[in-house]
Each structure stands twice: as C-alpha cells, then as structure tokens.
C-alpha cells in the first residue's frame, strides 16, 4: 500500500455561486480502500465527491491525485487514473450498451484511434465482469434500473482507472439491486484492486461494504474511520439528528442502525432488556 494518499483534499472550500457548501475540509483516501461518505441530505457529500473528481473546481484549497494537483494535471491524464460515475447519469435515447461502455475508453482514444484492440478488450472484459455482455446490443433505455446501473459501472470499469468515484450508485434501486450493485463494488476492490470512494444513503449497506466511513454534516467531516468506530448512536444523533440504536449485523458483523422513531421512544429500552432477559424459548 502506498504511503501517499491516492486522493488528498487540502483546506477545500466548495461553493455553488454565492452558496458555500464546504469550507476548510481536509480529507485523504488511502490506496486500495473502499470509502463511503455518509451524511444527511444537503451536507455536501456529493459536492465533495464532485470536487474529488474535478467536476467542481475548488474555490480555495485543492485536491491532490497521487500527490499532484488535480486541477493542474491535464484532464485526459487524470481520466486515465480516476474514473467518476456521477449521480443519476443519463444516456441518449437509443444508445446501445456496448456503445455506452465504449465511451469509457475516451481518455485512451483520439479521433483517428476510436476502437483499438485495447479498447475492445477492455470493453469486452468490463461487460463480462458485470454480467452485461449478453445485453451488449440492447438500447440502454430498454433496460431495468439495476441493469442500467451495471452498464454505467461497466463504463467506469472500461476506463481502466485505479481510483473510482461513485455518487450514490444505488439511488432509485430496490434493495435487491442495491445489494447487487454493491457486491459489484466490493469485487472491484477485492478482485480488481481498485480504490473506491462512494456516496451512499443507506447507512447499513455503507457499514457493510466500506472499510472506511466518512460522516459529514454542514459541509464538514464529523467522524471518520472504520464503520465500528464511526457508526454509533452518538454520531447518529449528532449528524442525522436521529434517535437510533446500533446493533451488530447478524450477517456481516458490521454495525446495524435501528432507528427508534416516535412510536417506540421511551419504551424500547425496557422491551429490549426484557426480551434479552427472557431469551429464546
């Protein structure tokens, strides 16, 4: 593992027009890790991801990719090391799966070299890897949400970058497809050795699939570390304003958030103690 972080944000200030979303943020992504950024709506997590992927220029401070300023590196060069999948990307109507995934090769191509054998090999492999090879000639807009997301991930995979940023890759997917996509992300990390940073809404899935959680609130990082350290009821109260208990996920052993909600407030602790006291009959 490298000692220099793959991605390093230093004293970052990010803004949309006059609206400053993130101010004075420092953040490092280590090589070969899966990091999930969590936080309530509007906390600036997508903004941070867009800045890490140089989709949004920093107002102050900068992002380093392998120790070099990302905004001073030619963007095509960056695109060979860093792949970004934006939130809810849209494909033009009628575009085939193969053509979309082939777009991922753009940083490796030129106008006179648009389908080299390297391109073809990378696309073929990405498609087989995500299980989308049989859909290669289908139009993307005729696929289901989960399949579509696999196609977009294939595109980033075909790009052949070491570092991959995913902005809410599971949005609009049902639970089964969320798990499906995240299994794919896990394989990106374990089998293909990619460094992944993703923004996720589902805390339990984030805890399960990431080695490192970053919790954000109001544009600042509140907690950061392994899921067991970050995902605590104190953090949930502070960051999400959520009254919840954290138990152990019976499947993965990672923390599992159980929100309390108004109806069970007060009585839940006693009930829980009672049930553990009685034990399984």
């Amino acid at each position: 593992m490298r000692t220099v972080p793959r991605l390093h944000a230093q004293d970052l200030q990010l803004a949309y027009g006059e609206n400053v979303v993130v101010d004075g943020l420092d953040f490092a992504v280590l090589d070969g890790t899966v990091t999930a950024v969590i936080g309530p709506n509007g906390c600036g997590k997508s903004t941070l991801l867009r800045a890490l992927g140089r989709l949004l220029p920093a107002r102050r401070g900068h992002v380093l990719l392998d120790g070099k300023r990302i905004d001073r590196t030619p963007t095509r060069e960056v695109a060979r090391v860093l792949g970004v999948l934006p939130q809810a990307p849209t494909a033009p109507e009628g575009l085939t799966v193969a053509d979309l995934v082939a777009r991922g090769r753009h940083p490796h191509q030129a106008w006179y070299r648009q389908w080299s054998s390297d391109d073809e090999g990378a696309v073929a492999q990405a498609l087989s890897w995500t299980g989308m090879a049989e859909f290669a000639e289908r139009a993307v807009d005729t696929l289901s949400g989960g399949q579509r997301q696999r196609v977009w991930i294939s595109m980033v995979l075909a790009q052949g970058t070491d570092v991959i940023l995913l902005d809410e890759p599971t949005t609009f997917l049902d639970l089964a497809h969320q798990v499906d996509v995240l299994d794919l992300v896990e394989r990106l990390h374990t089998e293909a050795g990619r460094t992944v940073v993703m923004v996720l809404h589902d805390l339990n899935l984030a805890a399960r699939y990431a080695q490192r959680l970053v919790a954000m609130k109001d544009g600042a990082i509140v907690a950061e570390g392994p899921p067991q350290q970050v995902l605590t009821s104190d953090m949930l109260r502070e960051v999400f304003d959520l009254d919840a208990q954290v138990v152990t996920d019976p499947v993965s052993g990672t923390p599992l958030v159980v929100p309390v909600g108004r109806r069970h407030r007060g009585g839940v602790r006693e009930e829980l103690e009672q049930s553990t006291a009685v034990g399984p009959a």
């Binding site: 992927g53 009628g94 389908w115 054998s117 290669a136």
Partner: protein, 364 residues
C-alpha cells in the same frame, strides 16, 4: 478474474462493434451508416444531374454526367459548367452546411428541436443581412459590393452575435437543451422583429430585394457565389468532423464527459461556433432556407438507427433535400418559387408533428 488479469492487456470482442483497423487508425464498422451515407451521395449526384439537365434547353442526365467528367460538346459544356452547375453546387454546399450545422447543434444540446433555425441563428443572420440590404441599398456601388462581400459577412456576424447572445442568456452552470431552445426562440423573435421593421422602413425596391432574399433562393447563383461558401465549407466541415470525437463523450452529460477527460465548455463552444459558422455561411449564400437543419439530422438518425444525429449523413442528405426542393421549385410548378418555400412546406408539418409528440420527442 484476478487483479493481474485486469492489469494485463485484456482481449475479447464486443457484439455490435466490429472493428476496422489499419496501422494506428481504428474505428467501428457501422454498415448501416456507411450504406445510408453512400446511397445519399449517389442520390445527390443523380439529383444534381437531373437538376442541371432541366431547363429551357434540356440535357439528359447521362449527358450532364458526361460533361461533368470532361465530355460533351461545347454548347453543353457552356450551359452545364457556366450556367447551371453553380446553382446546383450552391444547393449542395448550402444543404450540407445546414444539415451538418443542425446535426451538431441537436447533438450538443441533446434536443431534436435545437437547430440553428429554432435557436435564432438563422433569424439573426437574416436580420443583419436585411439591415445591410436596406441601409446600404441606397447607393448602387454599395449594393453590388454589399451583395457579394458584405452580405455574407453581415450574415456571419449577425449569426455569431445572435448565437453568443442565446448561449450567454441560456448558460446557467451549464447548458440545458430546453432552456437553450426557449431562449433561442425568444431571441429569434427579436431578430425577426428587426427584420420586419427594416422591411417597413425600407425603400420599396430594397424591400423587394430583401423579401426575395428572405425566402431563401438559389436563383441566378454563379461561380462568384459558389467560391466563398465553398472555401468556408472546406474549412468548417473538417473541423466539425474532427470535433465529433468529443461529441461522443458530451452526449453522456456534462459531468460524465468531464469525468472522461473532456474540456466540456471548450469542446461545446468549439462545436457550437462551427455549427453557427456553417449556418451563417449557408444563410449568407442562399438566404434563410428554413427547416433543412431541423429535419434532416432527425431523418438521418432514424434511417441509421443511431443514438445521435449522424454528422456526415446529415450533410449529404441536407444537400439532397435542397437539390430536390430546388428541382420542385423550378420545374414542377407553373411559377418558379424560391427554394425556401418548398423546404418550409416539407418542414413545417414535421415540426408540428414533433411538437405534438411532446416531451417524448424532445427527450434529452
């Protein structure tokens, strides 16, 4: 699959993307696109030959083709090369400029309505040209110089200024197709109002000249009209086709394109500038011939079954449409009409149909 496998050069083939490779060059073999484009080229040559042959002194298609490759008698050579070829050549050049321009703007805006005529570019170019005709028309010297040098330049400047205005007003942290179209329609209306005002203000002779020009006409086009538009196209068409490379990534939306290493704003500005240049040059040469830039790219897209308007095919079929319209305008009716009227008759129902399809048709 192990990490090392992904790091070594992977091999394999992808369904639907057959490679064509020669030394360092490579591309995807798309038989349907090649077939449709080749058919278009053949039909355009044929249509040009028919168009050249028809007239007070009819010449058969074969004879026209013979003259074009260097044969024929001297009378035929004179009639074809000096009298009639410039008109058809202007039609071809103007048509391909409009088709290519429309394909680029529709692809960049990801909106089938976003053609230079809808975006106000043509209206802006016309307004500038009419201002020149009306204000400069009082002296004969200005008029003759103006129509050859001044008109194209005025139209070009008018088109570029309008496009810059539309782009500037529609830009809000990026360009969204619908906003571009709406702002374009608005600016186009202002330009049309300027044109009307000029026509009211003008001397009757200037107004008549401007009106004929405004319907888009290929009447009495000589080599002096062909040369400027030919030079402009010789520059702009290759630039436009080179820029297509970035267009593929731009199609995926701004963020994805940036992630793929495209300078989005730079690439889009260059593409739009090329498209506006093409539309303005075409307008300067033959007046505002409507609907070609709107209709042709969408027809080609459907013929080829592509996900974005094909540039080369749009250029070819743009030429074909204008040639065909010119033939109809010249010969099929008792009076000779300006070609712009025929393209409008074909194009207007298409526009209504597309608007009636509503959001689905204009989906980004």
């Amino acid at each position: 699959m192990s990490p090392s496998e992904l790091l070594t050069r992977p091999t394999g083939s992808v369904a639907g993307r057959l490679p064509v490779r020669y030394r360092g060059l490579s591309g995807v073999w798309r038989p349907r696109m090649v077939l449709v484009t080749a058919c278009g080229v053949g039909l355009t040559v044929l249509m040009a030959a028919v168009n050249i042959g028809r007239g007070d002194f009819p010449i058969s298609v074969l004879e026209v083709l013979a003259v074009l490759v260097g044969g024929g008698d001297s009378a035929q050579q004179f009639i074809v090369l000096e009298l009639r070829l410039p008109r058809s050549l202007t039609a071809v050049l103007v048509g391909s400029a409009l088709g290519l321009s429309g394909a680029i703007t529709q692809a960049v805006a990801r909106n089938p309505l976003a053609s230079p005529d809808i975006l106000g570019v043509t209206a802006g170019a016309s307004a500038a040209a009419v201002v020149l005709i009306v204000l400069g028309g009082s002296s004969a010297a200005v008029a003759s110089v103006g129509s050859l040098v001044g008109l194209p330049i005025a139209a070009l400047v008018g088109g570029l200024v309008t496009a810059a205005l539309v782009y500037g007003l529609a830009w809000r942290n990026g360009i969204e197709g619908y906003r571009l179209v709406l702002v374009g329609v608005g600016i186009g209306a202002v330009a049309a109002a300027i044109t009307s005002w000029m026509l009211v203000y003008a001397e009757i002779n200037d107004a008549a000249r401007a009106t004929v020009w405004l319907t888009g006409s290929l009447n009495a086009r000589g080599w002096e009209h062909v040369v400027p538009v030919g030079i402009a196209l010789a520059l702009l068409v290759p630039i436009g086709l080179l820029l297509t490379f970035a267009l593929g990534a731009l199609q995926m939306g701004d963020d994805t394109a940036r992630g793929l290493g495209v300078h989005v704003d730079r690439a889009r500005s260059a593409l739009l500038l090329t498209a506006v240049g093409l539309a303005a040059v075409a307008t300067a040469s033959a007046g505002p011939i409507g609907f070609v830039a709107l209709v042709v790219p969408q027809i080609c897209l459907r013929m080829i079954g592509a996900a974005r308007p094909p540039l080369l095919a749009s250029a070819v079929y743009g030429a074909l449409l204008i040639l065909g319209s010119d033939l109809v305008a010249r010969t099929m009716l008792p009076v000779e009409l300006p070609v712009g009227i025929i393209t409008a008759i074909i194009g207007a129902p298409y526009l209504i149909w597309m608007l009636a399809r509503g959001r689905r048709g204009a989906r980004t």
